[in-house]
Symmetry: C2
Subunit: 223 residues, 2 copies
């Protein structure tokens, strides 16, 4: 049987590249997205289009009430998205987001017998989020193998982070080589209803600089 993997797919540049890498490594891919009260539906729509274009064994979209626990500019409409870089962990940080996403991915992975879970976190352009660092990923993996029936009884789960040490330009070059259509992806923290990017938030800036450094024409749709 082809090895199965669960891939967290947000609809952004990093997760699209991560999915392409997992597919390139021969995994049967189970894409997992969350409907968690993102500011705009276009991010989820991008995930659906990407996954359809790239092809996966299954795409699951789980509803998740992160807005119910609130506290971030990405889910709380009363917090403004900043347009200038700031020191420390930014207001766009969603409390425990990657922990929650990986936990649900782990549950699904256990049901599927998929021992590889891919997440497109990045520690270079990580924007100050604590849950994008390698030490977090290692601690999660260790916890996961104490938490689960399969991890305890069969073989360890692995959290795969193929982008963790890459620059944005390196990520883009790898994705282009694997045929990713970045025109489909949405990275902006504050896109308009059609998915057009603001061009000024942290995420837009990292992305634009990445295309420039990679020497690749930026396919992002700006408003």
């Amino acid at each position: 049987m082809t090895k199965r993997a669960v891939i967290l797919v947000s609809g952004g540049l990093d997760s699209a590249t991560t999915l392409a890498i997992a597919k390139g490594q021969g995994y049967s891919c189970y894409a997992l997205s969350f409907d968690y009260g993102q500011r705009h539906r276009c991010e989820l729509q991008a995930a659906v289009k990407l996954v359809q274009r790239m092809g996966v064994a299954e795409h699951k979209i789980l509803p998740l009430d992160l807005a119910g626990i609130a506290g971030s500019a990405l889910t709380d409409l009363s917090v403004a998205v900043p347009q200038q870089p700031a020191e420390g962990i930014p207001v766009t940080y969603v409390p425990a987001r990657n922990t929650v996403f990986l936990s649900l991915a782990l549950g699904w992975a256990e049901v599927l017998g998929a021992f590889d879970i891919f997440i497109g976190v990045n520690a270079v352009d990580y924007s100050g989020y604590p849950d994008c660092r390698p030490e977090f990923i290692q601690a999660f993996e260790k916890m996961a193998n104490l938490a689960t029936r399969l991890g305890v009884e069969q073989q360890p789960f692995k959290i795969r982070t193929p982008l963790i040490n890459l620059s944005k330009a390196e990520i883009i070059k790898q994705g282009i080589a694997l045929g990713v259509d970045y025109g489909l992806t949405v990275s902006c923290y504050d896109p308009d209803e059609e998915g057009k990017a603001c061009g000024v938030c942290d995420s837009c800036r990292f992305r634009a600089a990445g295309f420039k450094a990679a020497g690749i024409k930026d396919p992002t749709r700006y408003r």
Copy 2:
């Protein structure tokens, strides 16, 4: 300001006792329950009644689509609840359940500035669930303090497991001393619509034996 704590409250005997202990320690208690496709609504109804009776600062019930990732007799109606003890991790195990519950509790705790998270896991009568063991709890706590802004920048989160080394009889004695009305709690894996217990599943057996060993009249409503 009174110290805040998030308490996972399922509506069962263990979480009711855990809430009573947290209240007894002087915390301002934020109760968190999940609507995750349990077999019967009476478990959540028990949580609501318990929390109203005992008094908390807030009770949040988060919807959670664990049935969407399926695979357990507790959420999947096509898997029968066993009526005899079996070797190893039982079919009533829900994949990564405590990991998911604790992750969402962590997110809410970070929003509240609550550094203590209480969960009523028990390693004595733990019924073979890997995510009830002390080594899991320790690994989760370590991960949590790498995952979160407050854990990194302010002070560590603590996962409090006051029942972890107690027998069911000891748990019951402690809860009775704190005034818990166990008649309100539902522990059965397969209760009827009124919350009446089957008396034969693992959870019912542990509970009944606990009351007997504690020398306390069993207030459970059996059908």
